[in-house]
Structure formats: structure tokens, C-alpha cells
Subunit: 308 residues, 2 copies
Amino acid sequence: MEFTSQLQSYRTRTEQGIDLLLPPATTRPTRLHAAMRYSLLAGGKRLRPILTLAAADIFNRANSQLPLAQPALPAPSADPLPVAVALECIHTYSLVHDDLPCMDNDDLRRGQPTCHKQFDEATALLAGDALLTLAFQLVARHYALTPSLALALTGILSEAAGSERLIGGQMEDLLAERKSAATANELDFIHHNKTGAMLTAALLAGGRCGGATDTQLSLLEDAGRHLGLAFQIVDDVLDATADSATLGKTAGKDAKAGKTTYVTLHGLDASGRYAREQTDAALAALNRLPGGAPFLSRLTENMAARTS
Amino acid sequence: MEFTSQLQSYRTRTEQGIDLLLPPATTRPTRLHAAMRYSLLAGGKRLRPILTLAAADIFNRANSQLPLAQPALPAPSADPLPVAVALECIHTYSLVHDDLPCMDNDDLRRGQPTCHKQFDEATALLAGDALLTLAFQLVARHYALTPSLALALTGILSEAAGSERLIGGQMEDLLAERKSAATANELDFIHHNKTGAMLTAALLAGGRCGGATDTQLSLLEDAGRHLGLAFQIVDDVLDATADSATLGKTAGKDAKAGKTTYVTLHGLDASGRYAREQTDAALAALNRLPGGAPFLSRLTENMAARTS
């Protein structure tokens, strides 16, 4: 399948999965479920679930390339969709909490009012808590027939989202904002953990569902780490150069907040070069996977060249 | 072992487990880990972990009654301590978030400044998030050799803590506070979920670690449901009758907030009778467990008669 169609197909599958796997807004407490759905269905790139679905497909190519009408083949080792949705739940919860007044105090996210603006602070707090919890419910419910896989996925998600990775990155980010400037080393730590941990987890979760070997999982981990850094540097560049309408969120916030970014630390040119180095390193790892992982490679290139 | 010594032994084991299983305060980000430890080590009844440890012991009686010096017997099916600590992490996270200004805005918890008072709001928010995530890390790390048990425990914890149980109860509680009065039915829903879900999960997790049968798990579930309601009614009675120093938290808050409780809805006498009925129902379920579950029965009686 051509790249753009495949990307759209993964995105559609993700959004159908989200709609199917989230509690209905008619289930009590309806306000809480409405807030969870509002935040999760407000759009976004769906990068993490797409990475998961695509990583699983590397190891299930035979199945994934068959047209839908084809008679059923043996099922792949496990459907990566529930854990892909779980990853998007964790990503979304982190944004909902990050937007709260006591954190970044952001009014706009993906071009729409943030959860606490649309509902209220308490509802947004609880909706975030519930999305994080739902991620683990989804794993326990949907991989119940493969306990070892469920265990591996619980481990991947909980480590990536934990106090030394995702939350750790947010905490250090917060501390860095409170002092005058962060060092290059601190900035790498923040970005490696705040962004890289979950991108890596997305690739690893997909690899696990597809039945990747330990060596292949290591390559996915390498790719995720470099992809995460590249992604974050490009984010910093865009915050400094794009406008809010294009970004769908408040632009220029970093500079206004006097925040240290790759751009303030290294300048625009060096940031561009650093992003390119990290992108190349991610591509080198992907290239060593079965079939050379053409979809993920193209996605990696596109992310480096993105404008929003 | 005599009840009081056994209770103290479970509590000590829990507190040693917490200290051992939480990230050290010297690990980066140190402020986040310090806040997690502050909240978790600030005391409390340790009711949930004690329920877990005691429930496991019902099915491992032979082992639990041996003095420590005895030569090692075959290990019980799984050590309940990590999941006991995981339950306390979830309970504590829910308190940390519940105390935040956008929720109950409480300054005092267990006789000490609440997490956001001791640190700040953002740190408390992230510490709560990290404690919830840690619960699932502990399960994935410490039950790695028994994937089916790890899966069952992930399911028990994530369902009990989810949007239709623990968080659902908190959300409906919040909504009830915003209108003039809650009905008896709404109040039952809130308390059944806000308190009962995690007490039941604690008993079920212990039962699973001890190797309880499905019938025995059902009895533990019954006991937990009734225990949860009894516990909450007694809480309401104490809020109306005890003082802050005895409670270790602000007393009389419910009345001041015009909040509907069992006491405002049914009066003190009827609340006492209702608590007794629920206590008796819990005892009836416990009585049908192997050996009659004397420790848990006594604990249930003590909880009904508690003064703080």
C-alpha cells in the first residue's frame, strides 16, 4: 500500500479503536467519560498508535498486505490495536494534566479548548487519571488470552510512563522552567524522557504484538530513542518559527516563558543539523529490520520535515 | 499470633515494603521521588495492604503461622507484598489528587501538610500520576515469573481504580457537592465505588496471590463490598462527631460544605444501624472462608468500632 494511504489507514483504525474501546459517554459518570472522549477524540497526529500498528506489521507483513476480502489467514500473534489505543490514552492524559493551570496553563490544544477549559479543572484532573488507568485496563482486558504478552505490555507502558521517564521528564522540565536556564545535558534528559520514552514504548509494544525477537526489539528501541530526540528538536524549532494557527496550539510560548530549548541553546542552524543526525540514526536502526521497515522510515523522514 | 501483634506485623511489613519498593529519593528527579515518598510514608492505617496480606494468609496459613526461625518451607504461590504496596500507591495517589485546590482543597492529611502544601501543586499532581503508574510497574516487575497472576492483578487494580469505580466515585462525589443534595441512591453509588472498589480489590489481590478458588474469590468480593460501605458510613459518622486532632484531618468539613452524607440523610442513629448491618454482612462472608478468617473478622469489627 502506498505511504499516504497506509498512514491514513492506520489513523482511521486508531480512531475507530478509540471510539470502540473508550467507555461510552452515556455510561455513568457521563461527565467524566465525556471529558475523556473529548480529549482523546480532539484529533492529533496519532503518532504513537501509528508507530505501534506499523511496528507490528513489520513482523506480520504477509497478513497486513492482503486485501481485506481475502479469505482469513491464521491471526497474527496479537492485535496491536488495543495497546495502540492504550498508548494514545497515556499520551493524552499527559497532555491534559500538562495543560492544567498549575502546570503549563494552556487554553488551546490541537486548535480546541483544553480539557479544563471545556469542562473544569477537577473534571480534567480526573479525566487524565482515568485515561492513565484505562491504558492498563485495555491491556488486561484485551490480552487476557496471552498472559505473557499482557505482562510484557504492562511493563513497557508502566516503565515508559513512570517517574523516571515520561513523568520524570515533565518534572525536570518544570524545574528547568523555574530557574533561569537549563544546560544541554538537562535538556537532553528532559526530551529523551518526556518524548522519547513513549515513542520507544509505542515501537516496542508493536514489536511485541508482532512477535519480534530480542534483537529486533533492540533495534526498535534504538529507533525510538533517536526518533524521540529528533521529534522534540523539530518541535522546538517549530515553536520558534511557526504561528499558532498552523501549530493548532499557542506558538512562541517557549521564548515568551524564557524557556531553554534546543533553539535558544544551539541556535536554529545547529538545531536543524542535530535533528538531521538523530533522524539518520533512527533510519539506520529501522533499515536493519525485516524488509527495511519502509513505512516507518518514510514516517521518520516526514516527521523531520513536518511544519506543524 | 495474637490480633494486635499480627496487625502490627502486617503494618511493619507494609511500611518496609513501601520503603524498599519506592524509587529512592536520591534518584532523578529527586523532588518528584521525595514527594512520592512523603505522601506514602506519612502514615495512615495501611488498611488496603493489610487486607491484601491477611487475605493471602488465609490460603497460606501453614506458612504464615511458622516462626521466622523455622527452616524454609516451599514458598507460597506468590508474595502478596508488592501488590499490597501497589494498592497503597493507588490509594495514596487518589488522596494526593483529591486534596488539590481544584478538588477538596485540603491542607491537612494524616495530621501533616498535604502534598501540594509541602511541595507545590504541580509536584503533587505529578507525584500522584507517578504513584498510580508505579502500581502497575510493581505488578509487572514483581510477578514477572507468574504472568497469569500478573495479568489478574493488573486487571483487579485497573478495574478498581478506573473511571467506573474509584475515579467514578470521586467524580460523582464532586458532582453531588455542586448541587444542593444527593439522594440515598447517589450516595450509595459514590461510596460503593469511591471506597468499596479498592477495599474489594485489596482482598481479591491477596486471595489471588494465596491461590484462592473462584468461590473463595467471590466471598472475598462480597466481604469487600460490605466492608467498604461500613467503612464509609463510619467515616461520615466520625466527620460529624469527632474533632480534627483525633482524626488527623479536618473534621466537620462535610457539614460545613453542606455535603450530603449518611448522617445528614439518615441521621446518626440510622447510620449506626446501617453500618452494623454492613459489618455483619461482611462478617458472614468472611466466616465462610477457610478457618473462618479470624484476623479479617476481628479487623472488620475494629473498623466498625473505630474512633479515628
